[in-house]
């Protein structure tokens, strides 16, 4: 999308939703000053954004038709963890908060509010440095703030659906702010899905965790093969707080996830894990930054990737330990499985350590199915293809078993199995 086209889309956005726009205009100018990142930019070396940069994306329509509504509703019901399990349901269709599909829940300690396009979300929502976050700021569709007030007890997850209606080739730029007060506990499940649509979802999530709070965020990205997905999670963790983030990518033509966690005070703990399947023709990139900015902080990063034939995967994990961040513990793992010769996964750990009393470890593997495991299964009677399929699934499922509740775990497992070249029979697999 050229500067001209982006300007025209910007004007169109303002026409559809008039209101103040100064901050958004500034973000657009800032984005245009550098443009879409290219592979010459270090952080984008392995991911070519051309299909997005050269795509002709429209702005979201003002209203949704009844037929679209019905279609979206059936998508939601299928993907949901279940109304009885969830504390609230927030539905954004093409980036717009849909009041009729959402049920914002009755939990007194969890507040859910709309953020107007011109309002900022969180620390980096204004697009300080991430180019796609600047674009998100400029084209801000609706935003949602989820606030768990001090002492909010553990409850069912708040389900957030980011759905593409399929009504045209639409770019949506939703923004989510998650704030946890002292000792609050909150679970958020983010579903990214579409009905085999064209389009692009460019998501920004900002999380702030106060002292002693606990956030579990699970994101299941199951877009169709023509859709593009980019997401940025920034999180700031206060004293003794913990973030558990689980990312599953089984869809999209290009998927790029940036996770940027700052452990800002002693005792903060980040536990990040992810599973991706890059089926033929797909590209999945995870860029994880963990900033140990305070002493006695901990982080674990554990990602597993599978790529088949022309599928491409990327994992880059950067751990930064600042000079005063003594007695920290940082572990990073990236295990990858290639199912065919042409498949490719690039994995790059990066450690920048400026403190001396630290425990850091990282390990990266890119390999094929283990021969001992193959023989074990075949000696039990499974043919080579079934054994391979089951072992491939098991490789991913080892991390998928962390997902909760059960319906989310099963859905993720089923979607992962469905992306494999020879899916194992489903019954009993989960």
């Amino acid at each position: 999308m050229s500067a001209n086209v982006l300007h025209r889309r910007f004007e169109r956005t303002l026409e559809l939703a008039p209101g103040p726009f100064e901050a958004r205009r500034r973000a657009l100018d800032a984005f245009l000053a550098a443009g879409f990142p290219t592979r010459r930019d270090e952080a984008w070396r392995y991911t070519d954004l051309k299909p997005i940069a050269e795509g002709d994306f429209d702005v979201p329509p003002r209203e949704l038709g009844g037929a679209v509504h019905a279609r979206v509703r059936s998508l939601l019901d299928e993907a949901s963890v279940g109304a009885s399990e969830a504390a609230a349901r927030i539905v954004l269709v093409d980036g717009r908060l849909d009041d009729t599909l959402s049920s914002l829940g009755g939990s007194p300690k969890i507040e859910i509010a709309r953020i107007a396009p011109e309002q900022p979300v969180g620390r980096r929502g204004d697009g300080a440095s991430h180019p796609l976050a600047m674009l998100n700021r400029a084209f801000a569709s609706d935003g949602v703030a989820i606030r768990a007030s001090a002492g909010a007890p553990a409850a069912g997850p708040v389900e957030l659906f980011l759905v593409a209606s399929g009504e045209g080739n639409i770019a949506q730029h939703p923004r989510v702010s998650i704030e946890l007060g002292r000792n609050a506990r909150l679970a958020v499940v983010v579903h990214c899905l579409d009905a085999d649509a064209d389009g692009w979802l460019n998501l920004v999530v900002d999380a702030t965790l106060d002292e002693g709070s606990y956030l579990e965020m699970q994101r299941l990205q199951e877009h169709g093969s023509r859709f593009h997905h980019t997401s940025l999670l920034t999180a700031e963790l206060g004293r003794d707080s913990a973030l558990v983030a689980g990312y599953v990518d089984v869809g999209a033509r290009i998927a790029r996830n940036d996770i940027d966690v700052r452990l800002a005070a002693p005792g903060a703990h980040a536990d990040l894990y992810g599973v991706f399947v890059a089926a033929p023709g797909r590209h999945v990139d995870n860029e994880i930054h963990v900033d140990h900015a305070a002493r006695e902080t901990r982080s674990e990063t554990d990602f597993r990737g599978i790529a088949d034939r022309t599928g491409r995967g990327v994992f880059r994990g950067k751990i930064l330990v600042r000079p005063d961040a003594q007695k920290i513990d940082a572990r990073q793992k990236s295990d990858n499985l290639l199912l065919a010769e042409q498949a490719e996964i690039d994995t790059r750990p990066e450690l920048e350590i400026y403190a001396d009393d630290v425990k850091c470890s990282h390990g990266a593997t890119v390999g094929e199915i283990d021969a001992d495991q193959m023989f074990y299964m075949r000696s039990r009677g499974l043919d080579e293809e079934s054994a391979r399929a089951l072992l491939t699934f098991g490789f991913a499922n080892r991390l998928l078993t962390r997902l909760a509740p059960e319906r989310l775990r099963n859905r993720a497992a089923r979607l992962v199995a469905g992306q494999l070249p020879a899916p194992p029979a489903w019954e009993g697999l989960e």
Partner: protein
Amino acid sequence: MLRIENLHVEVESKPILKGVNLRIGPGEVHAIMGPNGSGKSTLAQVLAGREEYVVTQGSALLDGKDLLAMSPEERAAAGVFLAFQYPIEIPGVNNAYLLKAAMNAQRRARGEPEVDAFEFMKLIGAKLEMMQMSRDFLHRSVNEGFSGGEKKRNEILQMLMLEPRLALLDETDSGLDVDALKVVANGINSLRSPDRSMLLVTHYERLLELVVPDHVHVLADGRIVKSGGHALARELDERGYDWVQAEAAAS
């Protein structure tokens, strides 16, 4: 039932088995004993179809069929079962799933009807009890996080479910305490029948006190150098292997 003639096997171009001859009749239990590195495990693994083991000479027939020409899964369907010395961990795949998939793969290969989830659970209940394993085992990943004893019991559980014609038990007794050894022996004995044969590879005589073999063979340097009855196992336990090897060298 099993007929091995002049079997020569190499691993990474190194000869391990150097002409093994062995016949196991239906319903018989044979024990293979021998010092470390004599080729006992190789014999068990090559019969199950491990590809790293290269047969350079000889034959192995199961019910008259050429075992060595079959893939590991064809051997399994023909009734061969190997209880591994070091059972393999399969993270992310639960025990029940693998076992049911294995049963049904074998049944399909033999043209028999498959078991459904209900029948499977019914079948496995009593066998879990016999192996003193809780139902939780079924939902745990295959062998992952299992203790040594749990892994061995799990192998026997699989064997009980798969009901092989020829069971190859590779040092199933190693790493077991007395109580676990009894449980494992019980499981093995429960499968003894006139149309099922077993080959126990073991270092120690103590398993053979509980699973009494019909024949005992000593494998040394890739050949069977002595055969006898249960009494031979006791003698080996008392006297070690040196005298057998000396005797073999003399002849």
